[in-house]
């Protein structure tokens, strides 16, 4: 159980992040407005390329949250006194990683249909992303089927690290193997994207990261509350 001072700090933090939810949503909608109505159409793909402004930030958020989950899990290994704290953080982060990996697959599939002519292909980028998503799902399955809290935390820690191993494989898959998916447009030298497109993409990425940061804080609050309730019930049963 947390100390009173920690509880007060946590409550303040929850209220602070709750208030940031609306500005984050407004920023995200403004970013989408720029992507849909301000940027001109692409000479090759036409207007379908506007999907990029939602697909790319979603995919990068998936990478970010899965890597952060692994960082929290690894921190738990080294700092045993804060193991519970890091596990709750990793759990909230992998929740977001799972959601965003699913959204990256869904938006990628929708973009693939008009540009490649198929909804799905067993291409290295798509397949490795699917594997990453399935490892994230495995995290939730393992936690759900492990009644003991300590065993649950250990299983989660290992699975979060496994999920993060997939991130560089997904990212570099377009360079390593022959792929239907285009290589990195913005990161590699001589990329074909214009400055306007890059700017709007960055604005959308920042907005999406801010929004997910707010959801992460709320998600973590929910996990902490649930574990507190579980511990309180167990304590009452034992006494």
């Amino acid at each position: 159980m947390q100390t009173s001072q920690q509880q007060i700090e946590f409550k303040k933090s929850f209220q602070f992040w709750s208030k940031l939810l609306l500005p984050a949503v407004v920023l995200q909608l403004a970013g989408w407005g720029l992507a849909l109505f301000w940027i001109g159409s692409d000479k090759d793909q036409g207007d379908v390329f506007r999907i990029m402004f939602v697909h790319v930030p979603v995919a990068w958020c998936a990478f970010m949250w899965i890597i952060l989950a692994a960082v929290f899990a690894a921190a738990g290994f080294f700092k045993k006194t804060k193991f519970e704290h890091f596990d709750q953080s990793a759990h909230a982060a992998i929740d977001l990683g799972t959601l965003f990996a699913a959204l990256a697959l869904a938006t990628g599939s929708i973009w693939g249909r008009p540009t490649w002519g198929v909804w799905w292909d067993w291409d290295p980028r798509l397949t490795s992303t699917l594997v990453m998503f399935l490892v994230c799902c495995a995290y939730h399955v393992l936690r759900s089927f492990t009644p003991d809290i300590q065993a649950r935390r250990n299983a989660g820690q290992v699975t979060a690290l496994l999920a993060a191993v997939n991130v560089p494989i997904v990212y570099f898959s377009v360079n390593i193997w022959r792929s239907l998916h285009q290589p990195q447009t913005f990161v590699r030298k001589g990329g074909s994207a214009s400055a306007d497109v890059g700017l709007v993409l960055m604005a959308n990425l920042v907005a999406m990261i801010l929004f997910t940061l707010v959801i992460y804080k709320l998600r973590r609050a929910a996990i902490v509350a649930e574990e507190t309730l579980e511990a309180a019930r167990e304590g009452r049963t034992q006494s």
């Binding site: 207007d47 379908v48 009452r236």
Partner: protein
């Protein structure tokens, strides 16, 4: 692109579908998280634990 199905506006279907999926997913996820916090706090109160102490 197969334009016969949707005419010249076929891109609208794909773009709207992509944005709508992301928007609705984030909306549902945020709402579900918010409800989860509220319901656990209520459960804590009902069981005689102060949610003010645990949140």
């Amino acid at each position: 692109m197969n334009t016969s199905e949707f005419g010249n506006l076929s891109w609208v279907f794909y773009v709207v579908a992509a944005y709508a999926i992301v928007f609705l997913s984030l909306l549902i996820f945020t709402f579900a998280t918010w409800k989860r916090v509220a319901s656990v706090r209520q459960a804590l109160n009902e069981e005689g634990f102060s949610s003010e102490e645990t949140m």
